[in-house]
């Protein structure tokens, strides 16, 4: 049996058949779930650690520094060392805090980002579940994280944390709209919410080219809104270290703090990969319809390279935002959403619908 290294469907089927042949279907399903869970956990940890390292290096280069370079060559083991340090730190318990919620909050945050990851297609056939409502699922699950942030801020018995949590609540409730509507623009074009189909439809051109003007606008809006939703960069009001010291996770230490930290980076990875999938074709190589030779050459580049390349570029863009801009104020943040992003988005959807109706897209 041969595998196409660019197509994981047959590989999955082979594992599935192999497991079914040696055990009952129920156990096979459970085993598969366990395998997927472990793979995702590993993936989560590795990507999280790498992103922390990447962020530190990227910002260092933007600031004329060299960044971490002491642990391992070019400092690549720096985050692992940090992680070990965080594991060994004492878990501080705050007097008069709500113990249960205080302990649960980091898990809610990390589970939310973990769940959303399951719908993302990394390559053909390489995804945990292929929902037919994939986008809806991702939007729904990823916004659960704010519950964890609110709980963390409220249960800490700290005023800074509370202010940070409340800011975060207001922020995510409003920016959720823009994220949803900008994705809706592409759903109008694609006519489906299933990630695999969305990617497949971009075989002859990515949506950002197919939908031209409204798609580009939707992409920019999505980028801004999703940066806000991940509590990063000019929108990091929930943390706002110069105002609220560390915002909602002021009182967290050790591994619980690491969970928040990791979840922030995984959320960034998640929104970047969704942006890459929906607007830039996910793992789909760059195709120009009509140029058969060019398309064949592009097909030789593995889909995982395409996928991670696009994601990495969008992550780089988000890092560029964070390390360039000053932070917004809370009222300006809401003004930006309700006065600018939302109206533009609504008009943009109408425009896109009109475009689809008139077949003006490619």
């Amino acid at each position: 049996m041969t595998f196409n290294i660019y197509d994981f469907t047959s590989f999955n089927r082979w594992i599935d058949e192999g497991l079914n042949s040696i055990m009952s279907p129920t156990w096979a399903l459970i085993t598969e779930m366990a395998i997927i869970g472990i793979v995702f956990l590993l993936f989560y940890a590795i990507v999280g650690l790498f992103l922390v390292y990447a962020e530190r290096k990227v910002c260092a280069f933007m600031q004329n520094r060299v960044g971490p370079n002491r642990v391992g060559p070019y400092g690549i083991f720096q985050t692992i060392a940090d992680f070990i340090k965080l594991l060994m730190k004492e878990l501080v318990y705050i007097k008069d805090s709500d113990k249960l919620l205080f302990n649960i909050a980091p898990f809610i945050v990390i589970i939310a980002s973990f769940m959303a990851l399951s719908a993302v297609p990394f390559a053909k056939g390489l995804h945990a579940i292929d929902f037919d409502i994939g986008i809806l699922y991702v939007i729904a699950v990823s916004s659960l994280g704010v519950v964890g942030i609110l709980l963390a801020g409220w249960s800490s018995n700290n005023k800074y944390s509370l202010i940070g949590a409340m800011r975060s609540g207001a922020q995510i409730v409003s920016y959720e709209l823009s994220v949803g509507l900008s994705l809706l623009t592409i759903i109008v074009l694609a006519g489906t919410m299933q990630f695999s189909e969305i990617v497949e439809m971009q075989r002859n051109g990515w949506f950002i080219f197919k939908g031209h003007i409204p798609a580009i606008i939707a992409f920019i809006v999505f980028l801004i809104a999703s940066t806000a939703e991940t509590n990063r960069g000019p929108f990091d009001l929930a943390e706002a270290e110069s105002e609220l010291t560390a915002g909602f996770h002021t009182e967290y230490s050790g591994i619980k703090f690491a969970f928040f930290f990791l979840a922030e980076y995984m959320n960034m990875f998640l929104v970047a990969s969704i942006a890459a999938t929906v607007f830039w074709g996910g793992w789909m190589p760059f195709h120009v319809s009509g140029w058969a030779g060019f398309n064949t050459i592009m097909d030789y580049i593995p889909p995982l390279v395409w996928y991670f390349g696009k994601t990495a570029f969008i992550i780089w863009l988000m890092m560029l935002f964070k390390w360039t801009f000053p932070r917004l104020r809370i009222d300006q943040l809401l003004t930006l959403e309700w006065k600018y992003l939302l109206p533009i988005n609504l008009v943009n959807i109408l425009f896109m619908a009109f475009l689809v109706l008139m077949h003006w897209h490619f």
Partner: protein, 375 residues
């Protein structure tokens, strides 16, 4: 819970709570504690609590001779250490009626302006950082390094130079001094454009700073807010123009004034002052006359009995030294009127009704240096 529900809405809104910003807080730039009364995110009032690094410099000065006082003034406003030294030296020279050589005046003025530039660079860095733009911090410090190198070569120290002494300067300038200052000005004129591109023109920054922390001219005068903060309110309070000392009477420079009275105007005043300072240095650097680097001084400096007062323009406002002398070699009473101390007094007034984020921006725009407050 039931009580809260039964309260009238206005009562709930009136409920205030207090948070302590500091003594350990990233945006207070040191150990300043602000007890802030908040209503939601709105600042209702705030009380500054200072003294966490009060070292009793005025008391120590009463035990020290005048040359020994110099090294203490370094440690007041460490970002304009040279200007602080200059103030004491000017006072001693005025009391003794000593005319210092021209060369000393040139060197002191150039050093003062270098001090002003590096202080504003560090202020710019921390201003950007307080508003959340962390990259600004590194750009500012990167360019400041050049000035510190110039100082290190001439004075031997990077930060607390103690370079002035009554009657002159400790040692003559290094032969590389002029060359390096020229190189710095050339480089910095390019780099300061980056400052404008990354922060001044940025739409987020403009929204964060415009209309925030309005300080009218009358209030600025009444509260004694001097320096760039006062000039941002349109108050022409530059001691270099009012009571010129050293070379300031003979160089041409504009007193930067802006009339918007908000955080943005205080920001722009400092940005333009860096240009003006470079302008002053350019006028002086090539014309340093030959001569001695110090006037002839007696081994023991005794000020004639009397009271002396010296005003200079430090990087963040008017610095005054008030000395009561009883004719001994140590001052009987030495008082420093430090700019940060008086500027802190206005913080409560201008940040009322603003948000916490604005309070951070206002505090940064006043450019407080905590050892300068506490002395």
């Amino acid at each position: 819970m039931k009580e809260i529900i039964n309260l009238p809405v206005s009562k709930i809104e009136e409920e205030e709570y207090h948070i302590n910003m500091g003594p350990q807080h990233p945006s207070t730039h040191g150990v300043l504690r602000l007890l802030v009364s908040l209503q939601g995110e709105i600042v209702k009032s705030l009380k500054p609590h200072c003294g966490y690094i009060h070292r009793g410099i005025e008391k120590m000065c009463e035990k020290d001779t005048y040359p020994q006082v110099i090294h203490l003034t370094d440690r007041m406003d460490y970002l304009s250490a040279h200007i602080n030294n200059h103030a004491v030296c000017l006072l001693v020279e005025k009391a003794l009626e000593i005319e210092v050589p021209e060369r000393v005046k040139y060197i002191r003025t150039i050093m003062d302006e270098l001090t002003r530039i590096q202080s504003h660079q560090l202020w710019w860095s921390s201003f950007g950082m307080d508003l959340g733009g962390l990259t600004c911090f590194f750009y500012g410090l990167r360019d400041r390094e050049m000035i510190l190198d110039i100082w290190e070569e001439t004075t031997g120290s990077r930060f607390l130079q103690s370079y002035n002494c009554p009657g002159g300067v400790m040692q003559d300038i290094h032969p590389n001094f002029q060359k390096k200052v020229h190189a710095f000005i050339k480089t910095f004129k390019k780099k300061i454009k980056d400052y404008d591109r990354i922060l001044s023109g940025n739409v987020i920054f403009e929204n964060r700073s415009q209309g925030v922390g309005i300080l009218s001219k009358e209030d600025a005068i009444s509260y004694g807010v001097t320096g760039p903060s006062g000039r941002g309110s349109g108050w022409s309070c530059d001691i270099r123009k009012i009571e010129p000392y050293s070379m300031y009477g003979q160089v041409h420079f504009n007193e930067v004034l802006r009339y918007e009275c908000d955080t943005y105007s205080r920001y722009m005043v400092r940005m333009q002052e860096m240009h003006e300072s470079m302008n002053i240095i350019e006028q002086l650097i090539d014309n340093i006359p030959a001569g001695d680097h110090s006037a002839k001084m007696k081994a023991v400096i005794k000020l004639p009995a009397g009271e002396y007062f010296q005003r200079v323009e430090s990087a963040r406002g008017e610095l005054d030294v008030y000395v009561v002398s009883d004719g001994n070699k140590t001052p009987y009473r030495m008082k420093f009127r430090t700019p940060s101390f008086t500027n802190l007094g206005v913080l409560d007034h201008i940040s009322r009704g603003m948000k916490i984020a604005d309070l951070v921006a206002i505090g940064a725009s006043l450019d407080l240096v905590i050892p300068d407050i506490d002395r």
